[in-house]
Symmetry: C2
Subunit: 361 residues, 2 copies
């Protein structure tokens, strides 16, 4: 007792010092946080958030969006909180396989077994809680528009006869195209004032000519400004291949405006497109899906080229294979003008409303 | 520091306690586990597993399959280990929102902010590591067939002319259909010896008649044996609606065999199908996609009815809208017999090999 009391005093002093340092660090960190530009920069837990409604439960429960409010929000304001389960990090996972602890759920008695499995508590303590984490997005205050954009999208199938196309869809498209200003970004691409470095092939003929571009949806494409073109062939990103052919001819708003006279252009787009893609990326024709959207996102003729397992926008009620389009026009120049077509729109999209007003949806 | 200093002290105490408890649990669990029927029942960590290759990295990195071997396996044996990130549990999440600790990643300076976020160490300790967990499947020993089934599927687009259909695809289908035994399960459904309780509508005419059934792919359908039919209307599972119409007429192997004479049957299937689905489930026509597969999974005529946002098998090179098929046959009875069609097969599928041998793939 007598002997250890000086040690005890030193230990007590040490503990006091440690607490002091911890408090100081905490205060500094907290001040750092307080200097953020919105209250959102300062939150360090979701304690002050009161969830009111689950807006969306997506991707098999891996993304959940809550509507609610933070205690510090003004009366009448709401907030969105979106939790995203983090994907497994392949490299992290490989290195940490041996640190996973495992609890048997069921087994076949032979070669199959199923477990729950988690980073052991000890390794969690050493590594921090990375494994036990979500990505989190918060929007506060959330405007009504933001809230609505985060509600599930309800879509409806429209069944558009030739008559409805002439009387409702046509005027709707003409309103959107208007004086052509909404397509000026596209004309800049066609004149190569913009995105010239993304052009893979060009036929400059104003009638049947077109540009083949790297679509901006192909996010994993090697950096165009730093990776030389000969290194694009066989690049790992060709799995996500997405190219776009845009015709120089103006005035073809959609599939419906195509006629037999456009067949040579369509064949040229198909042929040069697959040829160029094989030459640049080493991806052969039988790995590609070549198609046109109806309804398209903008009203100037364009053709999508994607790798087979890239399934964005390939639904039967939206994607029309170019091989089919060519055959249909060869048989009947007015094939697409005269038929009934089904396609999908968001409910309360302007076109859906127009169909409703015409008593057709 | 910023994140964990208050948690650290609690955690240190927790860890000490945990070690004691864990050792006791481990001893008890180990005794229980030893009685398992395969070595797989006894593993409690992945320490003995040596990963050799990543076979698959699916679903945005949320499912990863490793090929490798366990130390206890025989020479030459391999094992598959498949880790699946667990979805967020909505109920658990809602109750535990206030226990999540949050670290700012970036913010817009206004209403948007992005964080990393995890259960606090303290609450992890109290709740167990549920949040920090994966589902895990293990197959050991894994046969070559199992290993191959877990490799990425490579598919190829076949471009099938009418001639190739007659000379290659036709004989291929006839080989599969053979003496009809491979379709006996289907004839049992049509005769209502099997699955009679899944029938939603029947037209018994042997020529133009058909059954409308609840497809077995609709896994969330209310239990047919316990939930009375009047409770199916508006049931939450109608979001995953999947029904199947199967014709009584035999011999229509695929779309290619359809002729103008089949149009009345097709119209009947479309009309009665959407009518029945609206009556039973309350899902209207404009929420449905009605389509036929080419190539189909079995060679007897059938029509898929799915809810719009159910996107299984809806790719343009596979799904053909019934509304289009009807119009095409009305214009030309031989529309589908005479045209070139694109569809996708697994590489090295028997049909792909047959096309290759014919010099067409």
């Amino acid at each position: 007792m007598e002997r250890s009391s000086p040690d005890l005093q030193a230990a007590a002093a040490g503990v006091l010092l440690a607490i002091g340092v911890a408090v100081a660090c905490w205060a500094i960190a907290r001040r750092g946080r307080k200097s953020g530009t919105s209250p959102l920069a300062g939150i360090r837990s979701l304690r002050g958030f009161e969830p009111e409604e689950v807006l969306k439960d997506e991707d098999d429960g891996r993304v959940v969006t809550f509507l609610g409010r933070f205690a510090w929000q003004k009366e009448g304001e709401v907030a969105l909180v979106k939790l995203i389960a983090k994907p497994l990090s392949l490299s992290g996972l490989k290195d940490n396989l041996s640190r996973l602890s495992v609890r048997l759920k069921s087994e076949s008695g032979a070669e199959y077994a199923f477990y729950n499995c988690s980073m052991s508590l000890w390794h969690t303590f050493l590594r921090g809680l990375e494994g036990n984490s979500y990505s989190l997005e918060v929007v506060a205050p959330a405007s009504e528009r933001t809230v609505n954009r985060n509600r599930p999208v309800t879509t409806a199938m429209l069944t558009e006869t030739a008559e409805m196309h002439a009387s409702v869809t046509g005027p709707h498209m003409d309103r959107i195209v208007g004086d052509g200003k909404s397509l000026s970004w596209l004309f800049n691409v066609l004149s190569k004032d913009k995105e010239a470095e993304r052009v893979l092939y060009e036929d400059e003929d104003p009638e049947h000519g077109f540009l083949l571009n790297i679509d901006t949806k192909w996010r994993t494409h090697p950096d165009i400004s730093t990776v030389p073109r000969h290194e694009w062939e066989g690049h790992p990103s060709v799995g996500e291949l997405y190219c776009l052919a845009i015709s120089h001819q103006r005035g073809i708003r959609t599939l419906r405006d195509l006629r037999a006279k456009h067949v040579p252009m369509l064949k040229e787009i198909y042929g040069r497109g697959v040829e160029t893609i094989e030459a640049v990326y080493g991806v052969p024709e039988d790995q590609l899906r070549v198609f046109v959207h109806y309804m398209p996102q903008f009203f100037h003729f364009h053709v999508h080229f994607t790798r087979l397992h890239n399934t964005i926008g390939v639904e039967a009620e939206r994607a029309h294979l170019l091989v089919d389009i060519i055959q249909n026009l060869e048989r009947d120049s007015y094939f697409y003008e005269t038929r009934t077509m089904q396609f999908r729109v968001r409910e309360n999209d302007a076109l859906h409303t127009a169909f409703k007003n015409a008593g057709e949806a």
